[in-house]
């Protein structure tokens, strides 16, 4: 059975054993817990339920989680652990044995101290960064005045004379100088620096002319520059600031070293994070329980195959708990767990990427798997590429510990490689035309029209198969007439139209097409009211023929992708031949061949996978599969940072 049956379980226990029962369930990981407040028992229980304060422990756990997160983020920022390309898809976790994990979690107390050190270090770094930016800014401001030999503290307004630094827009310089020479007879003007935009100048004048000068400056958009608190010349200050930045950088290095010494706590923090997160999860589950003063009740879903184990361990490990199970009732939202054994299991990933089946719906995986296998092979259709793809998949699955969908995907690619070897031999593709072996069947490059018709044929079979599955579902659901109307008539009608193309069968074909068409017109409007509406929507349903037509034409992509991988491979071979000739040429040729074919394998595998998936999703699933089910999510340990491996002994 591809979809595993579920039973609803109720567990009633004494409050004293609550913790141990939850730890047990958490460890087994075979129950999906339901929020009792949305469950059926809630109405009866509501009056009995004791409010319980799990809030405090929960918020404590949460704050300690965020502390750990903070430390790990800081570590990651300054001393990142890089993930390699494959790990970005699969995740990289720290592998720990059960013993080591316990040891690390035992150091939970240390988290606070590590957090404090991290916090202090981070504060220091922030302060250093701040001061550094300030110094940098000040240097930039001082830079234009570097050639001024006057100490900055001497730029003051005295009772007789005033001195200051100013900037003016370069365009207004002439106007400014004219105005000054006209209205202020005694002044000193020295241009310190000028660039495209601004003029930086030193100005000295009599204090009694101050007001006039200010007005002139205002009219010509001159801004005053001051450096409060600075002593010595601009150059001296700049040097001092550079020294300061140097010290700040050294200081930063030493803080980073401090953080580096904290790095040894990283595994401990990771372990504690996962531990705390799971404790929190248990806590939340407890909050969703119905409970009285001395007892509690939990509700959940259990897959039938593991129900026995669950019953046994509950009976063994606890004294008071009572477990009851029943079949799901109609209308209940039963979670769905897929289980396909053997190679078919690999194709579950394709179904899951589309949608989980609804409860009671057929799992499309076994129907889809053989088609996926074949289509993938036709798209890649190269024996050499198939071997390399399979070997790569094998290598990755050996090298990385993959779980769930990642594991299934790699297995799927492995099978795709095998399929590709098969079709490569049929069509004579061995790294394109690198190894010239005659095809066992024929080469699609020589006769693309023939291949195109085979693609349409296989597509038609795929679509008919999907319709057949739907007909089977209709019959099983007790609607044999729906199967006849919705699938049977279409089948007759479509086949009639196809046979019309063959002159030998035209008489039969005509009557099949007419019969099927009439059948469709008469039945497709059966849910409408009124005879006219029934007839019209029946007639309109014939328009769906375009849908079937485009579905079949869509399979031409099998040919196109097959040709694409062959022709690109041929192009790579042709390019490599062009450079061959000398010893160096042979070297380049080998590089071109290796790089080019590797590139083609990657790009063609991607194309084969996505287009084969699309044929399943759009052309095949649309005939019978609805999806939209809820996937089974058991209550179990989930880890973000660590992976607990089986201990070798004890």
């Amino acid at each position: 059975m591809p979809i595993i049956e579920m039973k609803k379980v109720f567990l009633l226990g004494h409050r004293e054993e609550r913790e141990s029962i939850f730890s047990l369930l958490h460890k087994l990981g075979s129950v999906e817990l339901l929020d009792i407040k949305s469950g059926e028992a809630w109405e009866e229980f509501e009056a009995l339920v004791e409010p319980e304060h799990t809030g405090e422990t929960a918020s404590q756990a949460e704050s300690s989680l965020s502390d750990i997160r903070y430390c790990l983020d800081i570590f990651q920022r300054y001393f990142p652990v890089r993930k390699n390309f494959i790990q970005q898809f699969t995740g990289a976790k720290l592998e720990l044995t059960e013993q080591d994990y316990r040891k690390l979690v035992g150091r939970l107390e240390e988290v606070k101290a590590v957090y404090d050190s991290c916090y202090k270090a981070e504060e220091k770094i922030a302060r250093i960064r701040n001061e550094e930016t300030q110094s940098q800014n000040l240097i930039e401001e001082l830079q234009p005045w570097a050639s001024l030999s006057l100490p900055l503290e001497q730029l003051t307004d005295g009772s007789f004379a005033t001195m200051g630094l100013y900037t003016a827009v370069a365009d207004s310089l002439v106007d400014l100088q004219v105005a000054l020479s006209e209205k202020v007879p005694a002044h000193y003007f020295e241009e310190v620096l000028s660039d495209n935009e601004f003029v930086y100048f030193f100005y000295a004048g009599l204090t009694e002319d101050a007001q006039v000068t200010r007005d002139i400056f205002k009219d010509n958009t001159v801004t005053t520059v001051t450096f409060p608190g600075l002593k010595g010349t601009a150059t001296q200050n700049i040097e001092l600031l550079y020294d300061k930045i140097g010290t700040l950088r050294e200081e930063r290095e030493s803080v980073l070293k401090e953080i580096e010494t904290l790095l040894e706590h990283r595994p401990m923090l990771m372990a504690c994070y996962d531990y705390m997160a799971n404790e929190l999860q248990k806590n939340e589950a407890v909050a969703n329980l119905a409970r009285t003063e001395n007892s509690f009740l939990l509700e959940g879903w259990v897959p039938v195959p593991v129900l026995n184990d669950l019953e046994k361990s509950v009976a063994e490990k606890t004294e008071t708990a009572v477990l009851a199970a029943r079949d799901p009732e109609p209308g209940e939202n039963v979670p769905v767990l897929l289980h396909n054994s053997g190679p078919v299991g690999a194709y579950e990933v394709v179904t899951k990427l589309y949608s989980t089946p609804r409860k009671g719906e057929l799992d499309p995986t076994p129907f889809m798997a053989p088609f996926f296998f074949v289509f993938f092979g036709i798209c890649l259709s190269d024996a050499g590429y198939g071997i390399i793809l399979s070997l790569l998949a094998l290598y990755v699955s050996r090298k990385l510990k993959l779980e769930g969908m990642g594991k299934q995907l790699i297995y799927l690619l492995f099978l795709g490689g095998i399929s590709s070897v098969f079709f490569g031999i049929l069509f004579g593709g061995y790294f394109g035309d690198l190894i010239k072996l005659p095809p066992i069947w024929f080469n699609p490059l020589d006769d693309p029209m023939r291949m195109l018709f085979y693609c349409f044929g296989i597509g038609l079979f795929h679509i008919y198969f999907g319709m057949g599955v739907q007909a089977f579902r209709n019959i099983k659901a007790g609607h044999p007439l729906s199967a006849l109307y919705d699938q049977g008539f279409w089948f007759i009608f479509l086949n009639g139209l196809i046979l019309l193309a063959l002159p030998d069968y035209s008489a039969v074909a005509r009557w099949m097409a007419i019969g099927g068409g009439v059948g469709l017109v008469l039945t497709q409007g059966r849910n409408q009211n009124g005879i006219i509406m029934k007839f019209l929507s029946g007639l309109l349903s014939l328009y769906n023929i375009t849908g079937y037509l485009s579905d079949v034409l869509s399979y031409s992509r099998l040919l196109a992708l097959g040709l694409a991988s062959i022709v690109i491979a041929t192009a790579i071979n042709a390019m490599s031949e062009m450079v061959a000739g000398s010893i160096i040429g042979v070297g380049i040729m080998v590089l071109v061949l290796m790089g080019g074919h590797l590139f083609n394998i990657v790009i063609s595998t991607l194309g084969s996978y996505v287009h084969t998936s699309r044929l399943q999703y759009i052309e095949f699933f649309s005939k019978f599969f609805e999806g939209g089910g809820k996937a089974f999510q058991p209550f179990k340990a989930q880890t973000s940072y660590i992976d607990i491996t089986e201990t070798e002994k004890g």
């Binding site: 494959i86 990427l353 690109i568 042709a574």
Partner: protein, 156 residues
Amino acid sequence: MTGTEIALIGAALAVGLAGIGSAIGVGIVGQSAAGLVTEDPDKFGQTLLLQALPGTQGIYGLLAGFIIMQTVGVIGDELLVLTIPQGYAFLMASLPIAIVGLVSGIYQGRVSAAAVGLIAKRPEELGKGIVYAVMVETYAVLALLATIMLLFGIPV
């Protein structure tokens, strides 16, 4: 101008226009991908996959161009001298992938860029994002098919 040169214009159009489409498409995805990776560097692999999707049009164009070049004999030993009608036949045959490659590459890029936004929030839904992008690519594949059938159908 001989037919051979007209045929080579076809090759240039197929490679050039489809390549432009892919370049724009890949560029669009790259911009949003870089935005996401500033927040979450570990999504590099996934976003790279999405960025590769609109790149296929350029490859299809190159493929069509390559077939023309090989048939005409630019790659190989001797250059065929085609009649002008033959040359135009090659030019016409290259148009489906040239035009559709240009437009679909850009639109596939937009869909893939949206899919980058999708995996920013739900990394587990990468598959669905890819499917959306592939819906666009269908038409590039069909155009490639038309071009290939036409090219193989021209008597030389």
